[in-house]
C-alpha cells in the first residue's frame, strides 16, 4: 500500500540524486582533464619554441659558444660534470673503462661484435697489500684464475688485455649463434645446441636443391677460445643424397671455417635468390 509506495518513491529519489551526483562528478572530471590538456599544450609549445630557437642559434654558429656569465656557478659545475661523464663513456667504447674505489679500482671490460656492443664485465680489484680480485662478473667458464695467476701481479694491463681477448671471443661466438637462431630459424631444423662457452655448436639445417630440401648437419669446434672462428667444422648431408651435395657440404664446411656463421647463412639466401 502506501508505505511500500513511499519506499519506492524514496528509492527513486535516491537513485535520481545518485545519478545526478555521478553526472556532476563526471562533468567536473572532464573539465579538469580538459584544463590539464590545455596546460600541457601550452607547456609543450613553450618548450618547443625554446628548442627551435636553440637549434637556430646552434646552426647559425657552427661550433660552440663560450659560456661566459650566463649560468650560475653550480650550473657551470654541472656542465663540467656532464662533460667529464661524456669522456668516461668514451672509455667504455674503447674496451677498458673503470672507476677508482676506496680500496683499489673497479674495471669494466666491454665486448662487441663489429659495430654492436654486447655485454660488459666487471672486475673489482684491491690493490693493497697486493693486487687481487675482490669481486667480478666474469662467467665461470672463462679461465679467469688461470689468467690472473699468470699476469695479475706482474702486468695488470696485459692481464686485462688477455681477459678481454677471451671475453670478446666468447661474446663473438655467442653473438653468431644467437643471430643464427634469430634470423635463420626457418632454415634450421630443430634447436641449435651449444655449450656455455659457445665453443661447441651443433645444428641441423635445410639445403634446397632442385626443388627439394635436404637435411644437413653441422658441428663446429672452436679449440682456440680466443678466436671467434672455428678450428674444425664437420658438415654432412644426413640422408643418402645425390653426389653433388657432397660438394655442397664440403663448400659449406670451408665457408663456416672462414666466415662468421650468420654471415655465411646470409650468403646462402642470396645465392638461392640468384639460382631462382
Amino acid at each position: 500500500g502506501v508505505f511500500s509506495h513511499l519506499e519506492m518513491l524514496e528509492a527513486q529519489a535516491h537513485e535520481a540524486d545518485r545519478k545526478q551526483e555521478e553526472k556532476k562528478q563526471q562533468e567536473e572530471k572532464l573539465t579538469s582533464l580538459k584544463e590539464r590538456v590545455e596546460e600541457l599544450r601550452i607547456q609543450r609549445d613553450r618548450l618547443q619554441a625554446k628548442v627551435d630557437l636553440q637549434k637556430k642559434r646552434q646552426s647559425g654558429k657552427e661550433g660552440v659558444v663560450s659560456g661566459a656569465a650566463e649560468l650560475s656557478a653550480g650550473a657551470v659545475l654541472e656542465w663540467k660534470i656532464r662533460s667529464v661523464k661524456g669522456m668516461l663513456q668514451l672509455f667504455y667504447l674503447t674496451g677498458i673503462s673503470g672507476k677508482l674505489t676506496k680500496q683499489g679500482v673497479c674495471f669494466s671490460i666491454s665486448t662487441a661484435y663489429e659495430s654492436t656492443y654486447l655485454d660488459s664485465y666487471h672486475l673489482d680489484l684491491l690493490t693493497k697489500p697486493a693486487v687481487r680480485i675482490h669481486r667480478h662478473s666474469v662467467p665461470v667458464f672463462i679461465p679467469l684464475e688461470q689468467i690472473a695467476k699468470r699476469y695479475l701481479q706482474t702486468d695488470i694491463r696485459r692481464f686485462l688485455s688477455i681477459l678481454s681477448d677471451h671475453l670478446n671471443a666468447y661474446a663473438g661466438r655467442k653473438y653468431q649463434a644467437d643471430q643464427l637462431q634469430e634470423r635463420f630459424s626457418d632454415q634450421l631444423e630443430g634447436s641449435l645446441q651449444r655449450n656455455s662457452l659457445c665453443n661447441l655448436l651443433a645444428f641441423n639445417y635445410k639445403v634446397p636443391s632442385g626443388g627439394k630440401t635436404f637435411p644437413f648437419s653441422a658441428r663446429l669446434i672452436y679449440r682456440d677460445i680466443c678466436c671467434s672462428l672455428p678450428t674444425e667444422v664437420m658438415v654432412s648431408c644426413t640422408v643418402k643424397a645425390p653426389a653433388h651435395l657432397e660438394e655442397t657440404a664440403a663448400a659449406h664446411s670451408e665457408l663456416f671455417r672462414h666466415m662468421a656463421l650468420h654471415k655465411a647463412f646470409c650468403t646462402f639466401s642470396s645465392t638461392e635468390e640468384k639460382v631462382d
Binding site: L40, R44, G74, T111
Partner: protein, 199 residues
C-alpha cells in the same frame, strides 16, 4: 559519451607528458653540447661555488656534493688515461635524434695513444627495449697519423667498413706501443750513429 571523452583526454595527457619530457631532454642536450667552458672558467666557478656554500648558514648537502662529484670523476678520467695510455684531447657530441627509446648522437673525437694521434667521427645509436640497452656504431670514420703505412690503412679501412670501433682501440694499443718502441729504437740508433760518425 562522456567516458570515452575522458579516455581521449587521458591519452592526450600521456602523450603530451612524453613529448614534454623529450623536449626537455633535447633542450638540455643542445645546451650541453653548444656551450663550452675553459678550465679557468671552471676553476672560477668552483671558487664562486665554494664561497656561496660558506655564505649559506646551513651547508646544503647536495650542493657540496657537486664539487666532490666533479673531483671524483676527474680522478677516474685521469687514472684511465694514464693506465690505458689513451688520451682524448677533444670530444664534441651532438644529439641528432631523440625518441622515447632511441637516441642517435654524432661524436667527433681526437686523441692519441702513446704518441700516435688519431681522429674519429661516428654515430652512436642507443636503443632501449625492455630492460636491455643496445649500442651500435654507424658511419665510422678514422684518420690516423701513420696513415702512409699500407698495413695501417688496410686495417683502418676494414675497421671503418664494419664499424668495428672496439677492435680499432684494442689493436691501436698494441700498435702504438710497438710504434713507440720502434721510434725510440731508431732515435737511439740515430744518436749512436751520429756519435760514431763524429769520432
Amino acid at each position: 559519451m562522456d567516458i570515452s571523452m575522458c579516455h581521449v583526454y587521458e591519452d592526450e595527457i600521456k602523450s603530451l607528458e612524453e613529448e614534454i619530457k623529450l623536449l626537455a631532454e633535447q633542450y638540455e642536450d643542445i645546451q650541453q653540447e653548444s656551450t663550452f667552458y675553459s678550465e679557468e672558467e671552471i676553476l672560477m666557478a668552483i671558487k664562486a661555488f665554494q664561497s656561496e656554500l660558506q655564505g649559506e648558514s646551513k651547508g646544503n648537502e647536495s650542493r657540496s656534493d657537486l664539487k666532490a662529484q666533479l673531483e671524483s670523476l676527474e680522478a677516474d678520467l685521469s687514472f684511465l688515461m694514464k693506465f690505458t695510455c689513451v688520451q682524448f684531447t677533444s670530444h664534441s657530441k651532438r644529439t641528432v635524434e631523440r625518441y622515447r627509446n632511441r637516441t642517435v648522437q654524432k661524436h667527433r673525437i681526437s686523441g692519441k695513444c702513446h704518441s700516435l694521434s688519431f681522429q674519429l667521427e661516428f654515430q652512436l645509436l642507443e636503443m632501449q627495449d625492455e630492460e636491455k640497452v643496445s649500442t651500435v656504431i654507424t658511419d665510422l670514420s678514422i684518420v690516423m697519423e701513420s696513415g702512409e703505412d699500407a698495413n695501417v690503412s688496410k686495417f683502418v679501412s676494414r675497421t671503418e667498413e664494419h664499424g668495428d670501433l672496439l677492435t680499432f682501440f684494442r689493436s691501436l694499443s698494441s700498435y702504438a706501443e710497438w710504434y713507440e718502441h720502434r721510434r725510440r729504437t731508431f732515435l737511439h740508433f740515430k744518436v749512436v750513429s751520429i756519435k760514431l760518425l763524429s769520432i
